[in-house]
Symmetry: C2
Subunit: 413 residues, 2 copies
């Protein structure tokens, strides 16, 4: 088995069918950005689109822009741009609110019509905001439900005839491990259990076929792989055939059938707009739409192929260059079992990550000991992976990471 | 009684202590903007602040801007900028989410701890999204509560010992009529009833003394009088002395005591941050903060004095110039009974408003027959009021408003 070297990585960049996509982003010089799974980078068209919305539409058009600039259509327009990336149809996705609120609005509505079943199944390693939201909802409903959080490999066994709702994050934010979506969706549907997929670490990173897999409900983040900007609105997906039965409980005026009639009583919109709540965040949506456009004319199969190739390379280089330095790869090796990130564990992970960041290799750190590297196919290069591992190897060989500067904790990591 | 003429109005503009505030906004040439109660105009500093956030903080700083640009502080920083305008203290206000979601999070938490009382008192003329949200919440909680919506003048009598929650909009969005905040707050507190004030049409328009009036809970809009931009986040106020007892149910990760520790179980933040939910909308908050800064160094008493003077002038000119043309003023005449808008009713209100808009006088229309004119003291001039009424008088005298063009309905008005 021959060793991998930098020329090999450069050649793979030359051969990469997605190599031109990198030009769709404004990336600062001198950094290798491996945190697109936490905050996607700035699309080159976003500043202009935001400026147009702020200066022309708001500044000049003022209130008339609700009609003239079609602000009123932005949530569904963004949703329709996302739809092909996740295997959804037009009219099945809208953007608005945060991921947390979006999960609440689906979970609350589904529990309100769940009858006598009282068990809610999630996962012990789920992203915390998802379990916090479910805990709050259970309390609001009078502590009549049991929230069960088994480990990932015991989730399927926990789904039974007492289950009122299942909420799972498709790709784990820490390990990058991925659930078999079709299998679990089929299991839930066979038992008549509503299932919400959290796609925060999937949408834009792994191919999704919500239509083919029979998914009814999903939510996901706009600011990670979708490159929508910091705090961008999240999306809500409701399968077309499930929309009529969906009875919203977070019933703000933008979910009303006739919001601008200002009617005294609530009547849900017949479309996916029933998943909206309040006035759409216009400026944020303008930025988000440019993030979604970075996927224009990109085949989702090519995204997945490069994502797997980048992470295979990353793991191979960890094996080749970093053995004996105390790293463990926690991301599953199997291609069907992981998303688009590689996570390492190291006892000194925090300081090591701060060293990398200071050298321009931007990953992130999660307690305890987890170094996360997002391998986002639209802009990460094979040579970037080489350079990152080379920097890491050098740090471990010289001990340069082990200084008070890199051990000092920041508020947000 | 001498007639009011345009030179009189011009003189009042010359004497206006707030006349220089108009320069804080980018207002298009050739229009008189009387819809700041629906969407405030663009502050001159907003494009630069948004550009800085998008291009430098997002584009260059990427994920590190959560620390380095203090994105994490934006919701509370915006809240502290608003506090003096509404008579709140620092640490009592945060911005995030929409008005609808903000109302839900307060109402849900307060009902969850309301014990056996089952009556919710609102108002028949309340802004629809408020009653929709309450309807949805009642349904989520199993239809155990009765939502009562008496007319404005019967609300006080409806508040009794069976009342679990009161939700009132301080200034009515249609008529501009204003509740006596101190009196109703005292009534509710004497009975131990939580009361949420919706300040959408108050904050930035009428002086508020939440501290002095004993208000415990309030929410309000960022994009109307506060000039925060289309779909700007709303604010949530919880009195400092009521924060410890407030137990959130919309428990997203940004309301957690240690959001970046990613702990498995929920523990509410000890501060007003417990009223946050998901990741803050960073770009929207950057614009909003510039809207809040348009009030810098402006005395709230001077705002109120000019607001009343503008609306007194408007109503006097309706009497003087428009009598016999079928208009009725529905805004209360008493200075302590109205906000910062004047509303007229006319059988042909829709077409008349479209005529005005086409002539550059931007008000808005609400069914049935209501013409709304926002009189926002930071940029509306006394001569603007004269010109608007003169245009209206001319339209009525010539019948120029009565064409198919102005009768044609738009999607959003």
């Amino acid at each position: 088995l021959s060793l991998i070297d930098r020329p090999h990585c450069e050649q793979r960049d030359t051969d990469d069918p997605l190599r031109l996509c990198r030009d769709r982003f404004s990336l600062p010089n001198g950094i290798v950005y491996l945190d697109g799974n936490s905050l996607g980078p700035l699309p080159k068209t976003a500043p202009g689109a935001v400026r147009q919305t702020v200066e022309a539409e708001w500044g000049e058009g003022l209130i008339s822009s609700w009609n003239d600039a079609r602000w009123v259509d932005l949530p569904a327009r963004a949703g329709d741009l996302l739809a092909p990336l996740i295997g959804a149809h037009p009219g099945e996705v809208v953007f608005g609110d945060s991921t947390s609120v979006s999960l609440f609005k689906l979970a609350a509505a589904l529990l309100a019509s769940s009858g006598k079943r009282t068990k809610i199944v999630s996962e012990t390693g789920n992203f915390p905001t998802d379990t916090y939201i479910l805990e709050g909802l259970v309390r609001l409903l009078g502590d009549r439900h049991d929230l069960i959080r088994p480990p990932m490999d015991e989730v399927e066994a926990a789904i039974d005839d007492e289950t009122a709702l299942v909420v799972l994050t498709h790709v784990n934010y820490r390990s990058g491990a991925m659930y078999p979506m079709a299998k679990i969706t089929a299991l839930c549907r066979s038992k008549g259990i509503p299932l919400i997929w959290d796609l925060c670490h999937s949408a834009g990173a792994v191919p999704l076929d919500l239509a083919g897999d029979g998914v009814e409900y999903a939510i996901g983040c706009g600011y990670k792989y979708l490159n929508g900007g910091p705090g961008a609105p999240a999306f809500t997906y409701i399968r077309a055939s499930s929309q009529a039965a969906f009875d919203p409980v977070l019933t703000g005026w933008f979910s009303h059938a006739r919001p601008f009639a200002f009617e005294p009583d609530y009547d849900p919109h017949p479309s996916i707009a029933k998943a909206l709540v309040g006035t759409p965040p216009v400026i944020a949506l303008a930025g988000l739409i440019e993030g979604l456009k970075t996927f224009e004319d990109v085949d989702t199969g090519a995204i997945r192929a490069k994502s797997l190739a980048l992470s295979d390379l990353f793991m191979a280089l960890v094996d080749q260059e970093l053995s004996g330095h105390g790293f463990e790869i926690v991301t599953p090796r199997g291609a069907d079992k992981r998303g688009s990130q590689v996570s390492l564990v190291h006892d000194e992970g925090y300081a090591i990550m701060q060293y990398l960041i200071a050298r321009g290799f931007i990953g992130d750190y999660r307690e305890p000991g987890l170094l996360r590297f997002g391998l986002t196919p639209l802009f990460v290069r094979f040579a970037d992976v080489w350079d990152c591992i080379a920097c890491l190897r050098n740090a471990m060989q010289t001990g340069a990471w082990d200084t008070p500067k890199y051990r000092a904790r920041k508020a947000v990591t």
